[in-house]
Structures are given as structure tokens and as C-alpha cells.
């Protein structure tokens, strides 16, 4: 069947994940940084929109000696645009680590370099018939390309930036929980295009991808809800974070697993991502909005569990290991280069006043 209409729709769904993520993140920071947090997601979309049409797509999927042309089953513009939205949301996920302390101008430079030197190679290696794909590694909709790369990239950026002032000394609370819940809902909705469109066709695989995506998300949400009950209350932030953990983990496996397997993935991801988050907090690493624990660890879990389910564990293990090491190391180097060129952090006073005023001259709430 003709896939064009579905892929165009899917591209629009994935684009909606960008403002969805912006709200998800912005609700979790303090009110003085809400505009900046939203802007980081939106500028990620803009940076990648241009980078992708100018050279990013060619690096990832173009013709050439080692860049073997991707057998696009649709007009190339359509495929390129669909893939653009993936690259954009991936960069937006990393802004978790930039929260409340990174210079906006530096993030723009960092984002351009990161998409070029980290995202594009992974897209090529796993989806552009690159060496990891030839090794047999499977990544249906971006467990490694999107989630491990951005999650471990965020960890590297957080370490390069350093913790927020006062981190660990006083509570840095979410300033608008409903905003975060709404953002999570939009992410979940957009994910149907993310995973459902990744079959690049209108077929049973697309339908299966959508239903296992929904199942893993629901499972992850319930697992975190149960964990949150240990405090005696039903935590709404835990609930939606669990859903995102389920979504990130099912992503690499969405086209390849059964509904039962997606429930198992949701349970394992829910539990392990939670403990990854606890570990991060215990280690006092200010990877502020948990891209590492949710996307990085979740993506790795999904990749490895797919390997267990399909009996091809080694290629998945290689892909996960390579992605973690490369994404972490190259992100750290890029961050250090940007630090030398423009400086990564805002001044202490700017951080105290908040990035909304210091970076944008605007306030979220007057």
C-alpha cells in the first residue's frame, strides 16, 4: 500500500514531540527558567531543520563510497523530512543536561556540532546500511540512534557543565507539574508516529509497532506508579516518567516483538530506569531531567532485550557498547571545545536571576 500519507502524518506526529518535550522539561525546572527550557527544545528543532537539509541528511543517508544509498520506498524529500524530525527530537532530549545553567548561544553551537558528529554517524551506521547494520544490529525506531546517543550524550554534557548552583543543598522542585503531565501526553501521542511510521510502510508491522508502543508505555507507567506507592502516594511525575521509560525502551524493538514481549520490556525498563535515576541522584550528578536514566538506560535495555528475544544478542550488545562509548566520549569533547570557544555556563549571577531574564529578557510568569 502507498505509504506516503502515513509517513507524512508520522513526520507531523514526531514534530509534535518537540513542543511536547519542551513542556515536559519546562514544568520540571524552576519558574525562572521555564522560557529557556522551552526555547532549548524549539531551537534544537530549528538547528537540525537547517543542518539536515544542508548536509545532515547526506551524511546520514546520502550516496557515496561508505554512504550507501538508502533504499527509500517513497519520495526522497518525504523520507528526508521524516528523518529530520528524529534528529531534531534527539537533540532536544539532550537539553535535559543543559537545564537552568547553559548559555543559550553555546547550546546552539553545541547542538550543531553534536548533530553532525554524533547523531548523523549513528543514523548512518544503523539505518543507512552502515557497519553496525551490516553486523546485524537492529534498531527499529532509534533505541541506539536516538535514545542511547542522547541519553549518554546528556550525561557527558552534564559532567562537562557541572552541577547547578545549590544542587544537593536545597530542593530544586518542579514549578509546574500539570505542564509536565501535558508534555508527557503529547510525547506519548507523537510516539505513534515515531515508532508506527518507522516501518516506512502501511502494513502489519506498522500496526504492531503502534500497539506494542502503547503497551510498553502503559506498563512502564504502572510500574513507576507502584514504585511511587512506597512513599504512600501516587506520584504523577513518576507515573509519566515511567511511561516515557517504557516508550524509550520499546523504540528499538517496536517492529520486532509481540505484545507479551512488550509488556516484559515495559516492566524491566520501568524497574531498571528507576534504579538508574536513584543511582544518578546518589552520585550527585546533575543530569537534571533524567535523559540519561530514562532515554540512555531505557534505550540500552530495549536494544539488549530485543537481542534476547530474537536470539541475536551479540550484534545488539556491540551496537549498545559502541553507542555508549562513542556518544559519551564525542559529546564530552564537543562540550569542552564549545567551552573553550564560547564558554558553556552562564555566570553565577545570571544563573541566580534565572535564564529567562538573563538569556531572553523575558519571563514565563509576570
Amino acid at each position: 500500500m502507498e505509504p506516503n500519507g502515513w509517513i507524512l502524518t508520522s513526520a507531523a506526529l514526531v514534530m509534535l514531540m518537540v513542543p511536547g518535550l519542551a513542556l515536559f522539561y519546562a514544568g520540571m525546572v524552576r519558574r525562572k527558567n521555564a522560557v529557556n527550557m522551552i526555547m532549548l527544545s524549539l531551537v534544537s528543532y530549528v538547528i537540525v531543520s537547517l543542518q539536515w537539509v544542508l548536509f545532515g541528511y547526506s551524511l546520514s543517508f546520502g550516496d557515496g563510497s561508505d554512504f550507501i544509498g538508502f533504499p527509500s520506498p517513497m519520495p526522497e524529500d518525504l523520507f528526508a523530512f521524516y528523518q529530520l524530525t528524529f534528529a531534531a527530537i534527539t537533540l532536544a532530549i539532550i537539553t535535559s543536561a543543559a537545564a537552568e545553567r547553559m548559555k543559550f548561544s553555546s547550546f546552539v553551537l553545541f547542538g550543531l556540532l553534536w548533530t553532525t558528529f554524533v547523531y548523523d554517524p549513528f543514523a548512518k551506521w544503523l539505518w543507512g546500511n552502515g557497519w553496525l547494520a551490516k553486523l546485524g544490529a537492529l534498531d527499529f525506531a532509534g533505541g541506539a540512534v536516538v535514545h542511547i546517543s542522547s541519553g549518554f550524550g546528556a550525561l557527558a554534557l552534564a559532567l562537562a557543565l557541572g552541577n547547578r548552583a545549590g544542587y544537593g543543598e536545597h530542593d530544586i522542585k518542579a514549578h509546574n507539574v500539570p505542564m509536565t503531565l501535558l508534555g508527557a501526553g503529547l510525547l506519548w501521542f507523537g510516539w505513534f508516529g515515531f515508532n508506527g511510521g518507522s516501518s516506512l510502510a502501511v502494513n502489519e508491522t506498522a500496526v504492531r509497532a503502534v500497539i506494542v508502543t502503547n503497551t510498553a508505555a502503559a506498563t512502564g507507567a504502572l510500574v513507576w506508579l507502584l514504585i511511587s506507592l512506597r512513599s504512600g502516594r501516587v506520584g504523577s511525575l513518576a507515573f509519566v516518567t515511567g511511561a516515557i521509560a517504557g516508550l524509550a525502551s520499546i523504540t528499538p524493538a517496536a517492529g520486532f516483538v509481540t505484545i507479551w514481549q512488550s509488556i516484559v520490556i515495559g516492566v524491566v525498563a520501568g524497574v531498571l530506569c528507576y534504579y538508574a535515576m536513584v543511582y544518578r541522584v546518589k552520585k550527585k550528578i546533575d543530569e537534571s531531567l533524567d535523559a540519561w536514566a530514562i532515554h540512555g538506560v531505557g534505550g540500552a535495555i530495549g536494544m539488549l532485550m530485543l537481542g534476547i528475544f530474537n536470539g541475536k544478542f551479540i550484534p545488539q550488545l556491540v551496537a549498545v557498547t559502541v553507542t555508549i562509548i562513542y556518544a559519551f566520549a564525542v559529546t564530552y569533547i564537543i562540550a569542552k571545545v564549545v567551552d573553550v570557544v564560547t564558554g558553556l555556563r552562564v555566570s553565577e549571577e545570571e544563573e541566580y536571576v534565572g535564564l529567562d531574564i538573563s538569556q531572553h529578557g523575558e519571563e514565563a510568569y509576570s
Binding site: K32, V353, I357
Partner: protein, 109 residues
């Protein structure tokens, strides 16, 4: 009776609350306020132009206490709210003429 009005940094509020509670002072009224002190806010340099951030977000804590409790409350607030930098805030101690409990109508001294 005295009213203690403390204007403090928002991020120190939890510590101040904990410290007061630890010493047995639970009652308080809290408001989010904005203001400026002698430093007249903060001037930020952003790409060559100056941005005046005139009114900064603060927390105002109001506590009414017996005269003999005032020193300990003030000490608790100072110890928990201090960072040593400009903008730590101020504490005002004000005489209170009458205190009436609405539930019972009783007047306490």
C-alpha cells in the same frame, strides 16, 4: 508579642522552615514577593548590553511570637538563610498590639 518578617532567598526557604521546626516554631505565613535592596537588583551584561534585573523573587515569612522567643527565631532564620552573598535578605521585628484567634474569639497577649 512581636511580628518577625523575614525576606529571604526562595532557595533557602526549605532550610529555614526545617530549622524553625527543629527548634519548635511551626506556625508561619509565607508569601512569594518581589523586591530590591541596596544593591538595586542585579545588572547583567548580555552580549554587550546591560540588562537591569530590578526586582528579584523572594520569600517573605511572617511569624508572630512571644518577646522572649524572638532572638531564637531570628537566629534560626539567619543561620539557615545566609549564603554570605548580596541578596540574602533582611529580617524586621515589629511590635504587635493585639492577637485574636478567629476560631474562639479569644485574645492572647
Amino acid at each position: 508579642m512581636k511580628k518577625i518578617e523575614a525576606i529571604i532567598r526562595p532557595e533557602r526557604f526549605e532550610k529555614v522552615k526545617e530549622e524553625l521546626e527543629r527548634r519548635g516554631f511551626v506556625s508561619m505565613t509565607v508569601a512569594e514577593v518581589r523586591g530590591r535592596g541596596e544593591q538595586k537588583g542585579i545588572t547583567l551584561q548580555f552580549r554587550g548590553r546591560a540588562i537591569e534585573v530590578d526586582l528579584l523573587h523572594k520569600i517573605k515569612i511572617e511569624i508572630v511570637a512571644k518577646d522572649e522567643e524572638v532572638d531564637e527565631i531570628v537566629e534560626a532564620i539567619v543561620s539557615a538563610a545566609r549564603t554570605g552573598k548580596y541578596g540574602d535578605g533582611k529580617i524586621f521585628v515589629i511590635p504587635v498590639e493585639r492577637v485574636i484567634r478567629i476560631r474562639t474569639g479569644e485574645e492572647t497577649q
